[in-house]
Symmetry: C2
Amino acid sequence: MVETILKPEPIDADRFRPFGDVFDAEGEPDMIINEGRCGRHHDKVRLDVGTGRAGISLFRTRAVEIPYALTVMERHPLGAQAFIPMSEDPFIVVVAEDDGGKPGMLHAFKTAPRQGVSYLPNTWHAPLIALRDDAVFAVIDRIGSGNNLQEFTYDTPVMVSG
Amino acid sequence: MVETILKPEPIDADRFRPFGDVFDAEGEPDMIINEGRCGRHHDKVRLDVGTGRAGISLFRTRAVEIPYALTVMERHPLGAQAFIPMSEDPFIVVVAEDDGGKPGMLHAFKTAPRQGVSYLPNTWHAPLIALRDDAVFAVIDRIGSGNNLQEFTYDTPVMVSG
C-alpha cells in the first residue's frame, strides 16, 4: 500500500482565489493615512455573510502533530470565514473543490508570517491547522441563525506534512 | 511651563468598555471545536457598522517616535473599527470622551501581545500608534458611503510616553 502525503505549498493568492482570499500588507497600499505613517490596503476580502452579520471571535488552538492525520473537512454554506493570525507563525490551510456534496481534490498551502486567509461561503476546508501551541487567531465570520456547518469524515485519514 | 506627558497604562477591558472592546483569547472559551484542539471565544466585539457592511483591510505602519507628539484625534460616526495586530508587538491606544464635539479628557493604554482593540462608532481616538516598524494590522471597519471621518487638531501636541 502506498501512503499519500499531502505536502503544503507556499500559499499563492491567485491559485487560492477559487477558494477564498489570501490577504497581507504587501505591495502598494490603496491610500496613505495617519500623517503619512501608514498605508491602508483597502477592503481585501470577499466577506459575504448573507443574511447574518460579521462578527469577531477568537480561536485559541493547540498545534497539530506533523504529519497531521486529516479526518474531517467542513464548510459553511451561509457565509465566508476569515482567519487572522495574531502572531507571526505560519499555519496550514487545506481546501477542496466540491464533488457532488463532498470534498473532491485536496489542496494544501502554508502561509507566510502576517498573512490571513478567508474561505468563500460553502468552501470545503480543514479545521484550523496550527504549527505552534496556543496559537491565537481572530476569526471574522457570520453571526446569525440557520445551520452554517456541514462536515465530511474520511474513512482513512489523509496525511498532511509540515 | 509644565509639560504634560500622557503615560499609557496596561489596557483593561472593563475600563475600556465605554470606548470599545479589548478582545483576546484569555479565559474560558465559549465552545470547543476542531476535534477538541481549539477554543472559540464567540462574537467578542460590538461591531456596529450601521448602513454599511464590515470589511477587512490591512494597515501597515511605521513606528512612532517616543515620546509621541499627538496632534490629531479622529472618530468615525458611522461605524465601529477594530484593530487586530498580526504580530505579538504591543501598541498604544489613546481615546477620549466627547466634549461638545471635540475630544475631552484623554486616556492612554498599552496592549499586551495577542490583544485586539475596537472603537465604538463616534469614539475619539488617536491614529494607530505602533512601537515597531512595519507593523501590520487587520482592520475591520465599515465599508459604505457617507462621511465617516471627523478629525480634531490640537494647537499644542500632547506628548505620549512609551
